[in-house]
Symmetry: C2
Subunit: 329 residues, 2 copies
């Protein structure tokens, strides 16, 4: 049995949506146990109704717009803080939350702790690619300001993730930049490039925004500011295209019929880009797997995020990343 602690509070959605997702996950994975953290009125009835669920009653919630560090410090009984403590205490093997990125990051970093030697955890996604090959993208938004030596750690973690999760032997690592030539970049990006080139981390050069979904590289690293802008731009572009196709479908019978026939394909690609398929982003660099769902998550996304977290715990993702990073030192 693998136990995942699910924080059902603090997202943009009602706790009932998250619990619906947890129920789905329990149904799909008979080896899964959950510890649901949240208000008593919400988690206790759920635990009563579900065999492999236990309630972790908490009384506080960290809201989306609160300052993460001070909120985590002050609200000792916040669902995300208690969830992290439960993982540290061994009551759960991993954590899923769709709360504020800053709050999850802070609570998990202090509560669960970092892998030895890792300075900053990074929000990590495996993006689909045209070539059929996935690309590990980090940092998608955990750290807006990143030093060159931390970018090198991201490269090592991303490489370990590509080896462990995607089964790539020699992952090719690139830096997200404003041009493929090595002379391109802001002063900051140039300092990243230099550190990566000296970092013995599989670095092969610069990637551009066009490479993110092409499958050209196995790993693309960026600071959390740039990575977050890129990730949300992917999301926005997919939405734009879907809205244009819908509008066209409403304008002519022919296009309407075409859209209907293509619907399964369009739904699949939209899903691939929504992050739901991937089950949210993993916070890499911590001692246990922490999966962060989208703030406006869905029951499906909560289910796949919880299952992804359980798979990561079973596959000993964090232990293997720790080993890979240790070897790279």
């Amino acid at each position: 049995m693998t136990t995942i602690c699910v924080d059902v509070m603090g997202s943009d959605r009602e706790p009932s949506v998250l619990l619906e997702g947890v129920a789905k996950a329990l149904e799909l994975d008979p080896q899964l146990k959950v510890l649901v953290a949240g208000d008593a009125s919400v988690v206790e009835p759920f635990a009563r109704d579900h065999e492999r669920a236990e309630a972790l009653v908490t009384t506080e919630v960290i809201a989306m717009d609160e300052h993460p560090a001070s909120a985590v410090r002050k609200k000792k009984d916040a669902s995300i803080v208690r969830a992290a403590s439960a993982v540290r205490a061994g009551q759960a093997d991993g954590l899923f939350s769709a709360g504020s990125t800053g709050a999850v990051l802070t609570a998990a970093t202090f509560g669960i702790g970092r892998i030895k030697g890792i300075r900053r955890p990074a929000l990590t996604l495996a993006a689909p690619g045209i070539s059929g090959k996935k690309t590990v993208l980090l940092d998608c938004g955990a750290n807006a300001d990143v030093q060159p030596d931390v970018i090198v750690q991201f490269a090592h973690m991303g490489r370990a993730y590509a080896q462990v999760v995607l089964g790539v032997d020699e992952p090719r690592v690139a830096l997200l930049c404003n041009g493929s030539e090595e002379t391109k970049g802001s002063e900051l990006a140039l300092s990243y490039h230099k550190a990566l080139a000296e970092g013995n981390c599989g670095f092969v050069g610069n990637a551009e925004g066009t490479d993110l979904l092409a499958g050209t590289f196995d790993v693309i690293v960026a600071d959390g500011f740039t990575g977050n802008v890129a990730l949300k731009t992917i999301e926005g572009t997919a939405k734009f295209i879907v809205s244009r196709v819908k509008a066209a479908a409403g304008e002519s019978k022919r296009a309407g019929l075409g859209a209907l026939m293509l619907k399964p394909a369009l739904k699949t690609v939209a899903g691939e880009l929504s992050g739901d398929e991937m089950g949210g982003a993993v916070l890499l660099g911590l001692r246990a797997p922490v999966v962060k769902g989208h703030g406006s998550t869905s029951a499906e996304a909560v289910a796949s995020g919880t299952l992804a977290c359980a798979r990561a715990a079973r596959g000993q993702l964090c232990e293997r990343i720790a080993k890979a990073c240790e070897k790279a030192e």
Copy 2:
């Protein structure tokens, strides 16, 4: 008559592709004259064959991978350098090039000159939006490193562009960031936010990557590093979706027929996002309109870029931006 100087060298494509585009532009706009800059063997036959075309014979080319500043300094007879001089001398009212961004930027800045008070020109695009409203995006890649006071100038220029070209009375300006909350951002983005808030430039707050194609704001400013990553991410995402739809169409008859029926709509949306429809990006902040086409441009894109440049010259875009920026001081 409006004369546009077209640099047919220095792109990733053969000069013949660019000349095909110029011929199209001449056909579509009877009030257009062109000055084609390039090798004698290329531009002289074209000028002989086309009534409203004149040849500007040059002997050097700046390649994509050359260092822009030193190449512009050394290659006095490069097509882009001579093209900029022709605009300064009044032989042409605007300039189109699909050469290296750095070379076009450097040659045009020194050759044509900046609008009084403007420190850095910015690569500017009008992106389509879900709401039907366009969003002016700058800087798309002219300046990787940007100071906070220059971001404020970008805001003023973008605002003037939205007023002059898109007809928006009171443009709403936002900063591309990793979160909508004002506390979000890297140290650099926070310094931009502060300068914009004090800049009296219509600033309303932070935008996210999801806002770029939503039509939420009239203008979104970014440094050229971030803007370029975002722009190329849009391009890459569109390519990814098109490739997935094509793959699905090949897998089942039903999806294949659907794709066929939706083809016009998909082509329209791909065109909207390719930058070709917009005719390339305008280098805002110079004394004459300079349109920069994609390095791997097409004849269609060259035609629409040349026509867009002619429209900007006729509409006195640069003079009006100079006035709007002067008033804003």
